[in-house]
Symmetry: C2
Subunit: 153 residues, 2 copies
Amino acid sequence: MNKDQRHLNVTAIENGTVIDHIPANNVFKVLHILNLENNKNQVLFGDNLDSKKYGKKGIIKVSNTYFAANEINKIALVAPTATFIEIKDFEVVTKKQVQVPDHIQRIVKCFNPNCITNVECVPSKFNVVDKTEMKLLCHYCEKITSKNNIVFV
Amino acid sequence: MNKDQRHLNVTAIENGTVIDHIPANNVFKVLHILNLENNKNQVLFGDNLDSKKYGKKGIIKVSNTYFAANEINKIALVAPTATFIEIKDFEVVTKKQVQVPDHIQRIVKCFNPNCITNVECVPSKFNVVDKTEMKLLCHYCEKITSKNNIVFV
């Protein structure tokens, strides 16, 4: 085996973002939500890594890419424990603990197929009524969309 | 930053498979086809890594997992250059160059919505008529499903 195959050639990134403490099994959702499938920069990730804090975790590193607040908020829905660490010139410049927002607009579909947001061209709008169990109360139909039913628009 | 965040903690795997030389941007398709989203073992990957041979490439490492021939064949459709390297006790035991098969059954949907395989419960069946451009001739409707239209069942 060459060095790549043995070690995956992962060193510190010069510029970019490290997303740490992603719950195991949700790494792929995070990659998808952040559209990292189409990112042209170096993307590295590990899933089911040992974590002292959480047992198993995922971690993502992406070069030359930083995320806007609304993207970080989307992640909160599948990875509320995640930390976004921004690196510039090999140094940590900011470290953001993901926060579950009080209100969620546009990014999640309402679970109720008859909700006006699914029938007409009305953007979804929820109040987060339970941040641990991730229960989203639809502003329009008042049905609850919960963690297992979350589908991103 | 801790060690994980800096280096992704990637060392040689004791048992498992390394999939090297995946074309950049197709790593996510490979992950999906091999159902690695739901694998409970350690999964590591890098995308858009520098490769002497291909410019940019992807690599996947998965612990305690080996792939059957039909799974390797599915990969051939999106990653014909890939190599499957099986590791046991830190040693390479086999190294398989992916081969595009002559015939493909079941794993790909026919592009033609009116094809009997899409209308009735008939498994798809193709002859691979062009292995470079990946043109699949449907055994039933004789329409060509080509690289950009491949959807896996």
